[in-house]
């Protein structure tokens, strides 16, 4: 199918991988009910597919205990003349199944404290990037990929390294990560993701009009995006927080072995256990002749 269409691919054909937060702890108390959210999302996916018949949309659900592919427009229409309403109905049924399965896994896994769990965005982003790599491999002409994260629940600090790894990998393959926050809190991880990969970060004020935000900001392909006046990413705080007190710091000490950050001088690294020799602090007067 792709080969037949390949000469039609131009810069305005998109592959959109939508990562949807299905965290029940969040949606239980959210201002926008999940069913309404899902209908906004389905309208959005529909309009993306209507924009061009070559557009490709994949939905990945990020739950508390698992992540899964929920919808792939490439598979949905491969069977021939599938009814749009039917395929999307199938997608929402699959979403329901996923949520039930995820809830069962969460219940069987005793580690999740009530109300305190973050969704597994690191896993969902990793899946999305693997899928995008497959599209890159599919030939020289492929749709322009991007990732859209719809996040509601707060960030999970334990996912920091994995999320950052995904962000850097996306940056290397020039995949922008867009973010639309459907919860109340800003996400520091996804702010960094959008800033580093050149995506759009937005936190809509009025969630009842979610579809309008999605359609106006996130539906345009990457080429047309350059002509639009999109919400500007405000400055992202790239200061680090120290490992010992979790304080945000301007200046600190970094272990040369494991790069842990501390706000005070320690004799021994609490992360990797290296002993520091305080012979000299060479950072000030090193390389004297190079600066002349």
């Amino acid at each position: 199918m792709t080969s037949a269409h390949s000469k039609l691919y131009s810069d305005d054909v998109s592959l959109v991988v939508v990562v949807v937060d299905t965290n029940p702890f969040f949606w239980a108390g959210a201002a926008l009910p999940f069913a309404d959210f899902l209908s906004h999302l389905i309208h959005f996916v529909n309009s993306l597919l209507l924009l061009s018949n070559l557009n490709h949309v994949v939905i990945i659900a990020a739950g508390v205990s698992s992540c899964a592919y929920v919808f792939d427009s490439g598979n949905a229409y491969a069977g021939g003349t599938a009814d749009v309403a039917e395929t999307l109905g199938k997608a929402s049924r699959k979403m329901e199944e996923f949520i039930k399965q995820d809830a069962r896994e969460t219940a069987s896994n005793g580690t999740v404290a009530d109300g305190g769990a973050a969704s597994l965005f690191s896993g969902a982003l990793s899946l999305a990037l693997c899928y995008i790599q497959r599209i890159f491999r599919s030939g020289t002409r492929h749709p322009q990929p991007r990732i859209l994260c719809l996040q509601g629940s707060p960030d999970g600090p334990e996912q920091y390294v994995a999320v950052m790894n995904s962000i850097f990998s996306a940056q290397r393959s020039m995949v922008p990560i867009d973010t639309c926050i459907v919860g109340t809190q800003d996400s520091a991880f996804l702010q960094q993701a959008s800033y580093i990969t050149g995506g759009v970060y937005m936190k809509p004020q009025e969630l009842s009009g979610l579809f309008q935000y999605l359609a106006a900001v996130f539906a345009t392909d990457l080429h047309s995006r350059t002509f639009l006046r999109l919400p500007k990413t405000l400055g992202v705080d790239f200061r680090a927080s120290c490992f010992c007190h979790k304080k945000t710091i301007d200046m600190g000490y970094v272990c040369s072995v494991c790069l842990s950050i501390f706000c005070k001088y320690h004799k021994k690294c609490s992360t990797c256990g290296s002993e520091f020799s305080r012979v000299s602090m060479p950072d000030l007067n090193s390389l004297p002749d190079q600066r002349q």
């Binding site: 698992s66 990793s126 920091y160 850097f168 990998s169 400055g235 790239f238 680090a240 040369s256 072995v257």
Partner: protein, 430 residues
């Protein structure tokens, strides 16, 4: 474009020392190459087909003695796996990685670099690959520093001082591409050794030679110099472009580096890029230390100041403000020009973390019908059943038991550094 002139003149034969480098570039050689081999004879078109393509290397004998084309996909993957296992064996031994590296790249610009066995010349290939290497190096080691040294007419010369910005290094290299005279290993070592003695004690000192010549013209006893390098803990590695040379091998063995000889351009690039990830550190080579670093913020919009790196007037929002001396710098990571504080942002540190928490290598499994995990690659949803038509081998993460295709395996270990399977389940250990 991978041509190694088989009939090429002076010393351009392929060294057999790196037998593992099997050529995998049987396709796409252009037919528009009208270049001459070293001795000036123009190859006939039919000769070129053999000399450039080496089409016989794309064939393999099967059990019954029949010639078959090499299954490149499996070959590339098995090669890649061998490297991965090697690397993870080192990681399993809990060897530290030297994350803060001070590397001098020494480029041999003696007259041997004008040899045309690499197209268009060794020098051009070295420069092109060095550019790619420098970018990759800074991508993988954001807190490290690189400097360039050239050898020409038996004298070594420092092209750029050691620094953290890829662009300035690359620009300096591209401006200085002419070669003449002899090469001198000793002079280069002495020079680099002198400079590397000034770096902070926590840094890992490394030298990487891109050596075209087959000889070295030294003013004194090179063994003494090697001994000196060994004493000052400089790790020397050499990539040869011609053939294996004893003195290079000796140097690398003594100082703990690696010595490889490239077969052709793609092999050269591969060998060079192997130096980009940080090598396992030898504990006493660099003392563990706490480094004072600053995490600057962007300046305010209405602040107009002169940046310290380009001496241009910038508004505060275009640059970062050093937290100690409040000077404006344009990009991170860098070292403050005024107070010498290392300035980084938290993503720079995060970029190095994957070296510390690598993804475990996946196990190779053959597909059995009706097993758990489905018939699709967990990462990209590609069907695992008819990859390549004949083989049903794929890989499986030892932790989460999800199955992946070869392409995802390579992507996960080379670029992503996350196992999607492990990340999409909540384990009690995390």
């Amino acid at each position: 474009m991978y041509g190694v002139g088989v009939g090429g003149g002076g010393g351009g034969f392929n060294a057999p020392s790196t037998a593992s480098g099997r050529r995998k570039n049987q396709e796409d050689d252009d037919d528009d190459e009208e270049e001459e081999t070293g001795d000036g004879r123009v190859l006939e078109a039919w000769e070129r087909a053999y000399a450039d393509d080496r089409s016989w290397e794309a064939l393999q004998e099967d059990e019954s003695g029949l010639l078959r084309p090499i299954d490149t996909k499996n070959l590339v993957h098995s090669q890649y796996r061998r490297r991965l296992l090697l690397r993870s064996a080192a990681a399993a031994a809990r060897i530290q990685k030297g994350l803060i590296r001070y590397l001098y790249i020494v480029i041999d610009l003696s007259k041997a670099a004008s040899e045309m066995d690499y197209r268009p010349s060794r020098m051009a290939v070295v420069a092109k690959c060095a550019e790619a290497f420098i970018r990759e190096f800074f991508d993988q080691n954001p807190l490290s520093h690189v400097g360039l040294v050239t050898i020409k007419d038996g004298i070594s010369h420092r092209l750029t001082e050691i620094g953290g910005s890829p662009e300035s290094q690359i620009n300096a290299l591209m401006g200085k591409l002419e070669c003449s005279g002899d090469s001198s290993l000793q002079n280069a070592l002495e020079l680099v050794n002198g400079y590397l003695n000034q770096i902070p004690s926590y840094g890992h000192k490394e030298v990487l030679f891109l050596y075209s010549a087959l000889n070295t013209c030294d003013p004194g006893d090179i063994m003494e110099t090697i001994e000196k390098c060994k004493k000052s803990k400089v790790r020397c590695s050499v990539i040869g472009l011609a053939a294996e040379i004893f003195i290079c091998k000796h140097l690398c063995e003594e100082t703990g580096g690696s010595y490889t000889v490239a077969l052709d351009e793609s092999h050269f690039k591969e060998l060079l890029l192997e130096h980009a990830p940080p090598s396992p550190a030898i504990a006493e080579y660099a003392a563990a230390n706490l480094i004072k670093m600053g995490f600057p913020q962007r300046g305010a919009e209405d602040l107009i100041s002169i940046c310290s790196c380009h001496k241009k007037i910038k508004s505060g929002a275009e640059g970062y403000i050093c937290p100690r001396c409040k000077v404006n710098v344009c990009e991170l990571p860098t070292e403050c020009r005024t107070c010498g504080l290392t300035l980084v942002s938290s993503p720079h540190l995060a970029r190095s973390y994957h070296h510390l928490f690598p993804v475990a290598p996946f196990d190779e499994v053959t597909f059995k019908l009706g097993q758990k995990g489905g018939q699709n690659c967990f990462g990209c949803q590609q069907s695992l059943i008819n990859t390549g038509g004949q083989s049903n081998i794929h890989v499986c993460c030892p932790k989460c038991k999800h199955h992946f295709c070869f392409d995802c395996d390579i992507y996960i270990h080379e670029s992503l550094h996350n196992c999607p399977g492990c990340e999409s389940q909540r384990s009690s250990s995390r």
